[in-house]
Amino acid sequence: MKKSIIGALAVSTMLSPVAAMAQTEIQFWHAFTGRLGELVAAQVEEFNASQDDYTVVQTHKGNYSETLNAGIAAFRAGEQPHILMVFEVGTATMMAAKGAVRPVHEVMGQSGATFDPDAYIGAVKGYYTSTEGDMLSLPFNSSTPVLWVNRDAMTAAGVDPDTDLSTWQNVGTTLDALKAGGEDCPLVTAWQSWIHLENMSAYHDVPFASKDNGFGGVDTELMLNGEAQVAHLSAMGQWAKDGKFIYTGRRNEGGANFRAGECALFTESSAGYAGIKAEAEFDFDVRPLPYWEGVGNAPQNTIIGGASLWVMEGHEAEEYKGAGTFLSYLSSSDVQAKWHQDTGYLPITAEAGQATRAAGFYDENPGTDVAVIQMTTNQPTANSKGLRLGSFDQIRGIIDEELEGIWSGDKTAQEAMDSAKERGDALLRRFEAANR
C-alpha cells in the first residue's frame, strides 16, 4: 500500500529523478480525443498501476494524418515515440519503412510476455500481417461497415421496417418504396471509398488491386474498374440521379443526417454505434452490409478500417521490453472485451468476443455483434484480407473525386473508375520508386 502511494506521488510529480530512474518511460502517440481519448487514458493508467517497471505516457497528436506526420517528422529528427498509432491507409507506408519500424511480433515475442499470434482474429490481424504471416503492428481500433436502418422512417414511408435488406437487390426495391412513400433521403453513406469500393470488392471476393491487393509487392496496380465494382457504382449512380441516394460528403458527414433522423438507410462503420445510440431519437437497427446476389463469392467477408499500433526503431532494449509488455496488456481478453463493449470497435482476439457474448452483452445491445459475425464467418481470401497500397490516402482522395463525378452525373461509373485507376496507378508508381 505504502509503496503504491509513493509510486503514485513519483508519477504525478513527473519531475522526480527517482521516478525517472526507477521506471522506463514508454511514449505512446495516438489520435483519440473526447470519449475515446478518455478510454485510452484509462487503459494506460490501468497498465501503469498494474506494474512498477514501466510508465506509459500517452499523448494525443491530432487526427490520424496529423499523428502519422508527427511520428514521421519526429523519426527524422530522432525524437520518435516508442508506439505510434497509424490509420489503416498508412499501413503500406509504415511497412515499407523497414528501418523505421520494428515488427510487433518481434517486440512482443522478446518482451517475455505471452504472445500467441493465433489468438487474434484472422480478418482483423490480416490487414497488418506480412505475407509470411508475421504480425507487423497491433490492431488497436478496428471496425467494418454495416447497414444502419431508421425503423421509424421506414414505417413513416409505409415500408415494413423488418424488410430483408441483406442484398442490394432488395435494398433497391426498398429504396423505390421509400421514395414513393415520401422519404426524401432514402440512403446516405459515410466513407464512400472504404464502403462502396474497398469493402464492396472484398465482400464479393473480387480484387481491388493486383498482387493480392498489394500484399504481394509494391509493383501493384489498381483493379477497381472491374465489372463488379462498376456495376455497383452504376446502380448507386442511378439512385443518386433519382434522389434515392443522397451524397453528403467524403467523410462521415452523412452521420449527422442519419442521427438527426433525416435519412432511412445509412452505410457506415460499426463504430458509429455509440454516436447513433447517443443522438438518435428513433428506433434503429444494425444489419449486415448488403451484397449483390450472384456477384462474385458474396458474401465473403468485409475488411476493417481503423488504426493499429506500430513500434518504432531507435530505442533501448529495456524500452522495447516495456512496449511489448504494454501491447500484450492491450491484447488481453479483459482489456479487449471492455474496449469492444465500450466503443463498438471489433475485439482483436476471438476470446474477447466470446467473453463479451458470455457476459450477455450482445443480448442487451442487439446488433452489436453483426460486425463481428460479418467479419468472421468466412476465412479471408487474398481479395478480402485487406489492402496494402502506398499513398493510399491520396488514392482515396482520387477515388472520392471520381465518385463525385458519378454522383453528379458528369461521368459514367466505367469512365470514372478507369480514370481513378489511371491516376491512382501513377501514384503507386511513385511510391514504388520511393521504396525500391
Binding site: 499523448t59 494525443h60 527524422r76 529528427a77 525524437e79 438527426a260 454516436g275
Partner: protein
C-alpha cells in the same frame, strides 16, 4: 465625413446594422450553440436564440480540458502570441530601419530575401523546419513555438511602408545636427512608430494566437498545449460524435483574449495609421 443628418444618417445605420448582422452571424450561432443542449443542435434546424445551458456548458469547457486545464492552454497561447508579436516587432523595426535609411552592400538582396519570407507558410516547409527546431533541441519549448513563426516579413513590410512616409526633413535635420543614426532611431523613429507598433502588435498577437499545426507538431508535453490545439482536440477522429455545446463554448472562450487585445488597442491602432498614412 460630412453628411451626417437626416435620411442619410438613418440609411447609414441600417446598412451598418445589416452588415454587422451578416458578418457577426457565425459568431452568434457559435454562441447560441454554446448555450443549448446537444440534441437541440443535432436535430435541424438548430435554435437561433440562446438557451439556458450557459453555465453548465461553460463550466464544463473551463474545467474539463483535454490533457491539461484550459487555463494552462490559455497561458501557453498568451506566451506564444506575445513572444511572436514582440520578437517580430523588434527585429522588423531594426531591419526596416536599416533598409530604408542606409545604403549598404547587398541591401536590395537582403530586402528581397526578407520579402520572400512573406511566402510559403510554415506548414508547407514543415518537415525540414521541424528537423531544424529539433536540431536546436527546441521541441516542447516556447523558443520552438516562437522562432520559426518570426521568420516572416509582414511586419518588416509594414514598417518599411511607414518609414517611407516619415518626412525627409526630419532625417535631414538629424544629420545636420550630427545626430548618430541610432539616436535618430530612438528619438524620432521609434516614438513615431509607437502607434504602428500597436497596430502590428494586434496583427501578430492574433497570428500567434491562431496557430494550430505548428504547435501540434512540436509539442508532445501536454503542459505546452495551446488553446487552439485544445479546441481541435475536442473534435473526434473517425466515427465518434462531436460534443458541440462544449466545443462552441471553448471556441468562444478562446476568442475573448484576442478580442480584448484588439478592442483595447483599437484606439492606438487607429491613431497608428492616422499618423502614418497621410
Amino acid at each position: 465625413m460630412v453628411e451626417k443628418r437626416g435620411t442619410g444618417l438613418w440609411l447609414t445605420h441600417v446598412v451598418m446594422i445589416f452588415g454587422v448582422l451578416v458578418i457577426f452571424f457565425p459568431i452568434w450561432l457559435a454562441f447560441v450553440a454554446s448555450t443549448v443542449t446537444q440534441p437541440e443542435i443535432v436535430k435541424p434546424p438548430m435554435p437561433l436564440w440562446p438557451g439556458d445551458q450557459f453555465v453548465e456548458n461553460y463550466t464544463k469547457a473551463l474545467f474539463s480540458g483535454v490533457n491539461v486545464p484550459v487555463a494552462t492552454m490559455l497561458f501557453n497561447s498568451l506566451v506564444m502570441a506575445i513572444g511572436i508579436a514582440v520578437g517580430k516587432i523588434v527585429i522588423s523595426l531594426l531591419s526596416a530601419f536599416a533598409i530604408v535609411y542606409f545604403r549598404f552592400p547587398f541591401r536590395t538582396a537582403f530586402f528581397w530575401m526578407i520579402f520572400l519570407t512573406l511566402m510559403l507558410p510554415v506548414e508547407v516547409r514543415i518537415v525540414p523546419t521541424y528537423e531544424v527546431v529539433a536540431g536546436f533541441g527546441m521541441l516542447n519549448s516556447y523558443g520552438g513555438l516562437i522562432f520559426p513563426l518570426i521568420a516572416s516579413a509582414t511586419a518588416t513590410f509594414l514598417f518599411r511602408q511607414f518609414f517611407l512616409t516619415i518626412p525627409d526633413e526630419l532625417a535631414e535635420a538629424a544629420r545636420v545636427d550630427g545626430a548618430r543614426p541610432m539616436r535618430f532611431f530612438w528619438d524620432i523613429v521609434v516614438p513615431m512608430s509607437r502607434t504602428n507598433v500597436a497596430a502590428l502588435f494586434v496583427i501578430l498577437f492574433i497570428y500567434g494566437w491562431n496557430q494550430y499545426l505548428w504547435p501540434l507538431l512540436i509539442t508532445t508535453d501536454p503542459e505546452m498545449n495551446t488553446i487552439v490545439m485544445g479546441i481541435k482536440q475536442m473534435f473526434p477522429s473517425g466515427d465518434d460524435v462531436a460534443d458541440w455545446p462544449v466545443i462552441m463554448a471553448t471556441s468562444i472562450l478562446a476568442m475573448i483574449p484576442p478580442v480584448i487585445v484588439v478592442v483595447s488597442m483599437q484606439r492606438l491602432f487607429i491613431r497608428g495609421l492616422v499618423d502614418s498614412e497621410k
